[in-house]
Subunit: 354 residues, 2 copies
């Protein structure tokens, strides 16, 4: 089968025959074959077993005409590699056993050696590289989001404890961010060396910050990360949720593609980001639980907002929900391909250049 490079072309804002599409959590609990495997293996066991992680990564590609694969992984894996114990709790997600509460706790955070600490992730990439007919997207939690887990211990609505530590103990904060960033940089470069075609940086919890505090406490680290990846030429998708106030600051930070969540109208967001960057998004994943005409109506709105401009990758604005009907995913992928990349067909104005 010929290699489908539609996704990579869109990352680079090159013309495509139609809009590429993939979904966050496209390999996940909404797939019966995934649930069957999970009934036999824990989540972390799947991540740690290269053949199984590769099989899960491939699952949605066997059902749907997706334009990219995303490595099956978890953003907290580097923390385990760095010496922190984590458990995955049902309906909670990753839980750090002894979170960072003071400078003394930093001594427990040792720099990551990806080949030694997370060999199974790199091996999964090598396996997948052998036979995938679509690009493989590497998976990396951003330093802020990993700091959130380290300090708060688990996901939270607004990570008040993280913000409090940032303001009250800035030197501890910056020391932690330096260690995390250096480790993530190595992990990203190791994933690229192992063969990923692109990389998504999940700064999932970035939206709890305002732009001033983002620029003071987080941006320098993400800029360093992006700068270290730039020479590889690999497209980097910079994704966060709740980022409506942060888009200009995210753009300054770097990244080939900005991943948008469902809260911002794509046209307004792209106008704020400017023409020099591609965008990914941003269908509300909850829409996929509605009858298909509703799904198509919302998808049409997004294609119209993208206006047929090169550089749009269709995705949900966050991960697919466990209740998503696989049949809806199948129909949506085909619908996007049938209507994508053509502004007028989706009800928008034709693209006439910037």
């Amino acid at each position: 089968m010929a290699f489908n490079d539609r996704f990579l072309r869109a990352c680079r804002r090159q013309p495509v025959d139609t809009t590429p599409v993939w979904f966050m959590r496209q390999a996940g609990r909404y797939l019966p074959e995934y649930r069957a495997l999970r009934s036999r293996y824990g989540f972390l066991a799947l991540c740690r077993h290269p053949e199984l992680a590769a099989a899960v990564t491939r699952m949605p590609l066997q059902r749907f005409d997706l334009d990219a694969a995303i490595l099956f992984s978890d953003l907290t894996l580097p923390l385990m590699g760095m010496g922190f114990s984590l458990a995955i709790e049902e309906a909670v997600g990753p839980v750090v056993e002894r979170p960072v509460r003071s400078a003394a706790d930093l001594a427990r955070l040792r720099p990551l050696e990806p080949e030694a600490d997370l060999p199974f992730v790199l091996e999964t990439i090598r396996i997948l590289r052998q036979d995938l007919s679509v690009p493989l997207i590497g998976f990396l939690g951003g330093p802020f989001t990993l700091a959130c887990y380290l300090i708060e211990g688990r996901a939270s609505r607004d990570f008040a404890r993280v913000r409090a530590l940032m303001f009250a103990e800035p030197s501890l904060w910056h020391a932690m961010m330096r260690i995390l960033t250096e480790s993530l940089q190595r992990f990203a470069l190791a994933q690229i060396a192992a063969g990923v075609h692109a990389l998504q940086v999940f700064e999932s919890w970035l939206g709890v910050l305002n732009p001033q505090d983002y620029r003071a406490f987080v941006q320098p680290y993400l800029q360093a990360l992006m700068a270290a990846l730039a020479p590889t030429g690999i497209p980097v998708i910079f994704f966060g949720t709740g980022t409506a106030a942060l888009l200009e600051a995210m753009r300054e930070t770097g990244g080939t593609v900005i991943g948008l969540d469902w809260r911002v109208p794509l046209d307004q967001a792209w106008a704020r980001l400017g023409k020099g960057v591609a965008v990914q998004g941003n269908l509300d994943p909850a829409v996929l639980l509605a009858p298909f005409p509703v799904v198509a109506e919302h998808a049409a709105r997004i294609l119209a907002q993208a206006g047929g401009r090169p550089g749009h990758i269709f995705n949900t604005g966050h991960g697919l929900l466990p209740e998503t009907p696989p049949d809806t995913v199948a129909r949506l992928v085909d619908w996007v391909h049938a209507h994508g990349g053509r502004g007028p067909a989706a009800g928008g104005e034709p693209w006439r250049g910037w």
Copy 2:
């Protein structure tokens, strides 16, 4: 003691001698006298006992030079009045026992009769009206936020189940919003009749919606609520969190004051809202856990952003955290009064009219 109307004047964008200040959750777990009372009474028991609820409302006023009192209450009380059983779980908040999952569940939601269903709230207001020397702000959850509790059953990071029901079952959604809005309208008018000087509508979870879906599924109900309150002449503060993408839509909706969370720079937010509305906010409550010079630095930024324009009420961008030192609150109130309402003193440009 003379009645302090600084807060009410700022709501109406009239000149003030200095910036008025109050805090969300100013009567709460960070106060030892509140914790002492809570060790003897459950949270709901406090809400339901007028003398106790009035005493809690007064607690922060006895310590700090605040410019407004906010009724001690909970936004889910109307749901109990409407026939749903709720429990307050420690570290979780309100939990609805049998959430709404289908149209049949709506039959359990009966319109609120405030005087019959929530007499203790109105009695608390009547008690407080007798001797407060600052304005009393009434407390009302918005219809969207109450719908979130009814459907999801409890607070959630992004209320995916709520959004899914909204998209998949719009007629159930609209029927529920009609009943909630009519009931909240009555409750708001009853609070005003009992004597509140202003009212804050807490649409705490609004920020999970994008502007298009907000306008289609929520705005008409909030507009109806605001329109019903307008003839009373009572200032209405419209507050939500995570609303960076929604400010223009919130402004269309109504309200005398828009309450901003900490994620948006106040100057940019106010510019988007326009000069015809007052703003409240928006210090990150996590900042109050830092040493006071850091608190003053962040507060100065907010006063500078407000630029000394009439119509700014200083507040945190969300409720005070339980770990907040009361001494920091005392110093911050005095600091705001000493530096408020004077743009240049706070490092900003003097206000020279719109």
